[in-house]
């Protein structure tokens, strides 16, 4: 999943999430999506709770209808075509308010977690024994905003559409990775219509997806806007549909100026009785985009009468966070993002030096310099799997190292042991971003204290990701981040740590150039395990990799700190994606 705006390191990484998945012909793993156990640890549950029987309509006690919600953000909306919506903001706005798919997430206020519930399907899908076929049954009486009924065929068309990497280069590529024909069918626009597409079978109201690779996580993929119904025809032409996707949810597109503003108005065709999670209390949503960051903070801080029904899904400036919290107008939550430093496994071959880096990294200083709020938008940790992932194991590969703390003396001791005092550490930083330069200064200071010779290599925001992705760039540490699309270890280890053919110039997202055939074999083995054993196996693998090889270390887990005006109710954090719980929002007049 991608962050809202492609500005910083992390955003660029998540673009790679996708690239890595797309290029991964063997299909990145599976893992248990069926663990019903709610995780209450710090950082929250990232959405593995499920409730296949939930029914609509949903009402919120005390909520009043009416009002206009204004949403302000510094970033524009990328494409709003459901098939291509793969940024945090586009995908969350579409699935929360505009388009419906087979499944969806509902916010559980009691446990502060997201629950996977049915949407247009009558249940959460029915897999066959080896997860190579999934069947969803369409509810009766669902219509588009223009009154035409939603047909099962529309799901076949949207599935075909989701194959089209050329028409939708930025969209998620899970269909290509798992579905039958993923390697041959090119999509309805690039290929020859639906000819050659046989991944979907329709039987009355039942729609069956056929996989080439076992896909236990299909029920999560079925919650993406890309898997919702899309009518075949001229209206769904990519050029046209990105400007006006047909609504099945409670709101439809009004006036839309791409990258600038979007108006969502009520969709009278939406029937709350068929929807187990959405409510639609506000009359209207108005998105005001590309607002200056300082101005955005100011509007929300002042909370003047005109702006009380305003909210943002951007993180507020660290300096203002206390104020929002004191006013009770901050929405705080986590989402499955792990940021890490990946020493080059082929260049820094001594594990002691890699461990020394983890001791020497200025976690706290980097947070301050980068504008992160400790404990809110930055959480410490040692495991690659962020809190809330099924099967995550509690371990510490460096028993003497408190995660998130810096110990330059211990780093120095390790360096002396490895006879590598003065070891040169070359890493990229963006010289045209103020925080990038400040973080670099903090890192240089701390590494120098620990006995390294840091050599920061300047680059620009625009060039950062391509330089990092080039295996030949003269650096020996890469910083990166990874956001999971659903809570399963299979979306973490294969893309990040499976051996890549570095000689051929393929780095993918394996930033450490980690290359251990034994670990490759273990990953493969885990993917063939019975589904219920996979989650714990991934957790164990996390331990093995980090303890025995230490190819990377976690610099922070992600979190969000958003703010809303005093008239907004129900703005919680959807911790599967780090966005507001659109389905719960209402205006308090």
């Amino acid at each position: 999943m991608r962050l809202k705006q492609p500005i910083i390191a992390i955003a660029a990484v998540s673009a790679f999430t996708l690239a890595a998945c797309g290029g991964d012909g063997t299909g990145s793993g599976t893992g248990s999506g069926n663990d019903d156990q709610p995780d209450t640890s710090e950082g929250g549950n990232t959405g593995q709770t499920q409730d296949p029987d939930r029914e609509g309509p949903v009402t919120i006690e005390g909520a009043a209808e009416g009002g206009t919600v204004t949403v302000i953000s510094t970033s524009g909306l990328n494409t709003m075509d459901p098939t291509e919506a793969y940024y945090q903001n586009t995908t969350s706005i579409l699935t929360g308010l505009v388009t419906r798919a087979w499944t969806q997430y509902a916010y559980d206020e009691e446990n502060n977690t997201m629950v996977l519930v049915p949407d247009l399907a009558t249940d959460l899908g029915r897999p066959n024994d080896d997860f190579t076929e999934w069947t969803f049954t369409l509810r009766d009486g669902i219509t588009y905003e223009d009154g035409t009924p939603v047909e099962p065929e529309d799901f076949a068309f949207s599935a075909a559409r989701s194959f089209d990497r050329e028409a939708f280069p930025e969209g998620p590529a899970f269909s290509n990775d798992y579905f039958v024909g993923g390697d041959t069918y090119k999509g309805p626009y690039t290929g020859n219509g639906l000819k050659g597409f046989d991944a979907v079978e329709i039987n009355g109201m039942d729609v069956t997806y056929k996989m080439a690779t076992p896909f236990p996580d299909m029920l999560y993929w079925a919650s993406f806007a890309a898997m919702g119904p899309i009518q075949e025809g001229a209206d769904s032409d990519p050029e046209k549909y990105r400007l006006k996707p047909l609504a099945t949810g409670p709101y439809k597109f009004g006036k839309y100026v791409p990258e600038k503003s979007l108006e969502l108005v009520r969709n009278p065709e939406w029937d709350p009785a068929t929807d187990p999670a959405r409510t639609a209390y506000p009359d209207k949503y108005e998105f005001d985009l590309q607002v200056e960051e300082a101005q955005l903070n100011q509007i929300l801080l002042e909370d003047s009468a005109d702006d009380q029904a305003t909210l943002t899904y951007d993180d507020v400036l660290a300096v203002n966070f206390d104020q929002f919290k004191a006013d009770g107008r901050a929405a705080v939550g986590s989402f499955p993002l792990t940021s890490f430093w990946a020493p080059d496994y082929t260049k820094i071959t001594d594990i002691k030096i890699r461990q020394a880096l983890a001791y020497a990294y200025p976690y706290e200083d980097a947070d301050l310099a980068g504008g992160y709020i400790e404990g809110v938008t930055s959480l410490p940790g040692a495991q690659l799997l962020p809190p809330g992932t099924a099967g995550r194991k509690d371990f510490n590969p460096l028993p003497d190292h408190e995660p998130g703390s810096t110990d330059t003396d211990a780093a120095m001791a390790l360096l002396e042991e490895a006879d590598a005092v003065g070891y040169e550490v070359k890493f990229l930083y963006t010289k045209d971003s103020d925080s990038g330069v400040k973080v670099k200064d903090a890192i240089v200071a701390s590494l120098t204290k620990a006995g390294f010779s840091p050599k920061p290599v300047p680059t620009t925001i625009a060039d950062f990701s391509s330089l990092r992705a080039d295996p030949d760039t003269d650096i020996n540490v890469r910083s990166g981040g990874w956001i999971a699309d659903w809570p399963s270890g299979g979306s973490w280890f294969p893309p990040l740590l499976k051996s890549t053919d570095v000689a051929a110039g393929v780095l993918g997202a394996n930033y450490s150039k980690f290359n251990e055939p034994e670990i490759d074999a273990q990953m493969k083995e885990i993917q063939t395990l019975p589904v219920e054993e996979q989650a714990d196996a991934w957790g164990e693998l996390d331990d093995t990799i980090m303890t025995d090889y230490f190819p990377l270390f976690v610099t922070r887990y992600g979190g969000v700190a958003q703010a809303y005006g005093s008239a907004i109710e129900g703005h919680f954090i959807d911790n599967t994606i780090g966005m507001p719980t659109w389905k719960n929002i209402w205006v308090n007049s």
């Binding site: 300082a294 903070n297 300096v319 200025p362 709020i373 903090a442 620009t460």
Partner: protein, 345 residues
């Protein structure tokens, strides 16, 4: 500049002007010894209160900039974290990047008279002093180079006539028509990618290229001015006389013409320094100036989002730039007036 004149007007320019003229007249009667136009101008300048005060302020600023390392040592403050004794951000800041000492949340402390920079924990006074240093270095260097280039090309174009003049005039017009900000925007990333290998190289490359960019788009005004002056001087008797008795061209240019151009050059210099100070701050604010050296413009950029909570952080560099630019402008105005009393209204 009209701002300079309005201050003069408060002091009663007419009276001042009269007095000066009388002063000029008096010594001539008692003492026949000639005085060069420059000396006359300097004596006029010395009697201009605004000029004296502004020159004093500038002298102070220059001293502060020159002495920056000593002042920082003395106050035990650091502009960056390169020194092992420099405090780390976490020692100076609370969660959210707000300083743990001094404003905005705590009372004033002499340890950090202008407070601490949020997010980096550096001392604001140290940043200001080193920023001042950068500003003045860039402005002075750019001025010197652009004056040399401008005067040389102006002299050549004005004196040469014919093809050389046409070509040089075309070049001047060409550069004048080129948009400055666009040029700077385009050049900045090229320089980064060319010299991006190493931090120190980059720092120097940035500094030199910034000076280069300022010169590239700053020499034409003076060149045109000089060319115009030379065109009229060229036809004067003393130049023709020199030509007739076979004085070499370079000597005519530098011995005969140049001394007569001191006034416009001094005026151009005094007015271009503040323009360069402002341009450096502006470019650094836009992120296409300096990134590796402390810069007032860069601090202004970082400070804008903190203004609500921590106004001192923004005020310090803004007020410094303002005082420096106003003082330089007023001194420049006064110099122009001193060299050419007729412009005085």
């Amino acid at each position: 500049m009209s701002s300079g004149l309005s201050v003069d007007e408060l002091d009663g320019p007419e009276g001042g002007g009269e007095a000066e003229r009388m002063d000029d007249a008096t010594p001539k009667t008692s003492q026949v010894a000639g005085r060069s136009p420059t000396r006359i101008a300097l004596s006029r300048l010395a009697k201009d209160k605004v000029a004296v005060v502004c020159a004093g302020i500038l002298l102070l600023l220059v001293l502060l900039a020159v002495m920056a390392p000593f002042i920082c040592d003395w106050l035990n403050i650091y502009p960056d974290q390169k020194d092992p004794d420099a405090p780390t951000p976490s020692e100076m800041l609370e969660t959210g990047g707000i300083p743990s000492f001094g404003p905005p949340n705590y009372p004033f402390t002499w340890d950090h008279p202008l407070g601490i920079e949020p997010a980096s924990g550096r001392d604001n006074l140290a940043l200001l002093l080193y920023g001042l240093r950068t500003s003045l270095t860039v402005a002075v260097a750019a001025t010197v180079v652009s004056v040399v280039v401008g005067v040389t090309l102006g002299l050549l174009a004005g004196y040469a006539k014919g093809v050389v003049d046409a070509v040089l005039s075309f070049v001047i017009d060409f550069f004048l028509s080129f948009p400055f900000i666009l040029g700077a925007l385009a050049l900045a990333p090229i320089i980064t990618s060319r010299f991006g290998g190493d931090q120190d190289t980059l720092r120097r490359a940035e500094l030199y290229s910034l000076i280069g960019i300022l010169v590239l788009f700053g020499w034409m005004g003076l060149a045109r001015l000089i060319r115009g002056q030379v065109l009229s001087l060229r036809e004067r008797e003393f130049v023709q006389a020199a030509q007739v008795i076979g004085v070499p061209t370079w000597q005519i240019l530098f011995k005969e013409l140049l001394p007569n151009l001191v006034a416009p050059i001094v005026v151009a210099v005094s007015l271009s320094v503040p323009a360069y100070v402002a341009a450096e701050a502006g470019l650094s604010y836009l992120g296409i100036g300096l990134t590796e050296s402390p810069s007032l413009g860069k601090t202004v950029d970082s400070a804008t989002v903190w203004f609500q909570r921590y106004p001192l952080y923004l005020w310090a560099p803004v007020v410094t730039i303002m005082i420096m630019v106003i003082a330089l402008n007023l001194v420049g105005d006064s110099i122009r007036d001193a060299f050419d009393p007729k412009t005085r209204r």
